[in-house]
């Protein structure tokens, strides 16, 4: 489709994000939430929906949901209530999901996303708690053409659903919203936000309208946007599809569509004969949820520092560049690593550089997370102090770093064992003298006031010592010999 036609329309997007809360147990029973356990190991009469079983609210899940709501500047209501959402599907043995409906936990929040060097505020309509459904396995069994297999370990795991206002105007903004939301939620520690393991899932409501039009167009709900890449591709596809429909004088249907990764397009879900009728009603087996001012204050007092605040503090306390502060606060783990290294005595600027180049590159190559780094923050700090003292050069430092990464040994041990940085002052003195004696012309130039030649001498000495001499010592020695 031509950019001219696309430009005549404005996309309107709202995102619904489901987030698994980081609890030890399910929302309404004491079964473990551990990922990867043997199928159906973590089940009980409550999450299997056996007759007579009664749900009991997990206090830890409630605290985390409140923390998430407060981090998103939402109003947490004093009173909220669970409701039953009724539908039949084998992944939901109770015959209903316990969710919140007319009285959600929190409403009216917002999130600021980076956009073209500035920020844009995206409204958050509501945040509510609900229990997750089981995992259906439709493929991979000899009789998969006839039967589905069910693992109820995930059934009953606590989720929060976070619904944004239709404030998002492009796939790029949607991407920025989801990235920022994930970052904030990761910082608060309410979820591990792992898209691969399904702890962060995303659906989108998409419509388009003529630019300048006030009224929203008819929206389609797009499901299965479970990676950042899919989200952007699916939205781009869906926006073009709807514009195509309108341009050919058609009408956009209000429907649910599924992003097909294989086909690279959104496809209508098998149409229902009639619209869903979930027959919500208040959950009679659970008391209303009560959140006092005191509880909110307590949770707020324990709120970890959020990304924006941390970025600002890094700029202020460590005098690193805004770019460095941005990269180092991408995740809480990375920010904590940087701060721990600095607290262990690493110069902030060089810690910022080494973490962003050497450490992240090697972790990436090894497929490791920052938490699995073979080099602890204090060990990096030791290496950087050795370099700063001039005991070894930056170039040797990189070699020592590689060894540290490989073996987990401390820098001092590797420096000693490999005789790195063992070039004595006497050797440096000898090398400097030699270079000065061999280059009388340049000595004359230097003495005549050509300071630029000094670099030549340093270069020659470094070459003679194969880069292992301390630049500070070389500078000092040459200055003395040439004066």
């Amino acid at each position: 489709m031509s950019p001219g036609i696309l430009a005549r329309y404005e996309p309107v997007i709202g995102l619904e994000v489901h987030l698994q809360l980081r609890t030890g147990t399910k929302l309404f029973c004491a079964c473990s939430t551990r990922f990867g356990d043997p199928p159906n190991k973590n089940t009980c009469p409550v999450c299997l929906g056996l007759p007579g079983a009664l749900p009991v609210l997990n206090r830890g899940a409630l605290d985390l949901a409140i923390r998430a709501a407060l981090a998103l500047h939402a109003t947490v209501h004093e009173r909220s209530r669970f409701a039953r959402k009724n539908y039949f599907y084998p992944d939901l043995p109770k015959g209903y999901q316990i969710s919140m409906y007319e009285m959600p936990l929190a409403t009216a929040g917002w999130l600021e996303i980076p956009l073209d060097g500035a920020t844009k505020r995206i409204g958050i309509t509501r945040l509510h708690m609900e229990d997750d459904a089981a995992k259906n396995l439709h493929e991979g069994f000899p009789d998969s053409d006839r039967n589905s297999y069910i693992d109820y370990n995930r059934c009953g795991v606590p989720l929060v659903e976070i619904v944004s206002e239709p404030d998002i105007r492009s796939p790029e903004e949607a991407y920025a919203y989801l990235t920022t939301l994930k970052q904030v939620l990761e910082y608060t520690g309410v979820s591990d936000c792992n898209m691969e393991e399904g702890s962060l899932r995303c659906d989108a409501n998409v419509s388009v309208r003529r630019r300048g039009e006030d009224k929203f167009g008819t929206k389609a709900e797009v499901k299965n946007l479970n990676s950042f890449r899919y989200l952007q591709h699916a939205l781009e596809y869906e926006i073009e599809r709807q514009i195509g429909v309108l341009e050919s004088s058609g009408r956009v249907e209000q429907e649910t569509r599924l992003w097909s990764v294989a086909a690279g397009r959104t496809e209508p879900m098998r149409s229902k004969e009639f619209a869903h009728d979930y027959r919500y009603f208040p959950e009679p087996d659970l008391l209303p949820v009560h959140v006092s001012e005191a509880l909110k204050a307590e949770i707020l007092s324990k709120m970890p520092e959020l990304p924006d605040a941390k970025r600002a503090r890094f700029l202020r306390e460590f005098q690193i560049t805004p770019y460095d502060a941005g990269v180092l606060t991408t995740t809480r783990a990375l920010a904590d690593y940087f701060e721990a290294a600095v607290n262990a005595g690493a110069p902030p600027k060089s810690a910022a550089n080494w973490i962003q180049t050497e450490l992240l590159r090697r972790l990436n190559d090894a497929g490791k997370e920052i938490a699995e780094s073979p080099i602890a923050p204090a060990a990096l700090a030791e290496l950087l102090r050795i370099i700063e003292r001039g005991q070894i050069t930056g170039a040797s430092g990189k070699k020592v770093f590689a060894k540290m990464f490989e073996t987990g040994d401390p820098a001092s041990k590797i420096v000693a064992a490999e005789s790195i940085g063992q070039i004595s002052e006497a050797e440096i003195e000898r090398a400097c003298r030699e270079v000065v004696e061999k280059n009388p012309d340049n000595v004359a130039k230097y003495k005549a006031g050509n300071d630029g030649v000094f670099k030549f001498f340093v270069g020659q000495v470094m070459r003679a010592t194969r880069g292992q001499a301390s630049p500070q010592l070389v500078n000092g020695t040459l200055k003395r010999l040439l004066s």
């Binding site: 609890t23 030890g24 147990t25 029973c29 004491a30 079964c31 473990s32 043997p38 199928p39 159906n40 190991k41 973590n42 089940t43 009980c44 009469p45 299997l48 056996l50 009991v56 609210l57 997990n58 206090r59 830890g60 899940a61 409630l62 209530r81 009724n86 039949f88 599907y89 084998p90 259906n136 396995l137 439709h138 069994f141 998969s144 053409d145 006839r146 039967n147 589905s148 297999y149 069910i150 693992d151 109820y152 879900m269 098998r270 229902k272 004969e273 009728d277 027959r279 208040p282 009679p284 659970l286 008391l287 209303p288 949820v289 009560h290 006092s292 509880l295």
Partner: protein
């Protein structure tokens, strides 16, 4: 009759129930008498009464006293439950392939 034949069929459909003509007749009559009773209750003036969704609401149950701590307690019932499941394939439950209605 307060309730129409279509409404009863619709409720049955949502509950995945297939009703015979006789059952349709029975349930229509029963549902109708329930609705007639609700209608009677509706004659009371409740404009000054706070809606109540649960028997235990109100201020006596503040701060979620009935909530539990987030501590796992293994139940280990799955083997016994699979024993009585209609068509298990251990360690899974197994159901006929789901066709969306």
């Amino acid at each position: 009759m307060k309730i129409t034949r279509e409404q009863v069929l619709r409720v049955a459909e949502l509950a995945h129930l297939e009703l015979s003509e006789a059952e349709l007749e029975t349930y229509s009559r029963q549902l109708d008498s329930i609705l007639a009773y609700i209608e009677k209750l509706n004659q009371l003036d409740t404009s000054q009464v706070e809606p109540m969704a649960q028997v235990f609401s109100g201020e006596a149950h503040t701060e979620n006293a009935s909530a539990r701590e987030d501590v796992p307690r293994p139940s280990d019932v799955v083997s016994a439950v699979l024993d009585i499941a209609p068509d298990p394939s251990r360690p899974y439950f197994r159901v006929p392939k789901v066709i969306d209605r």
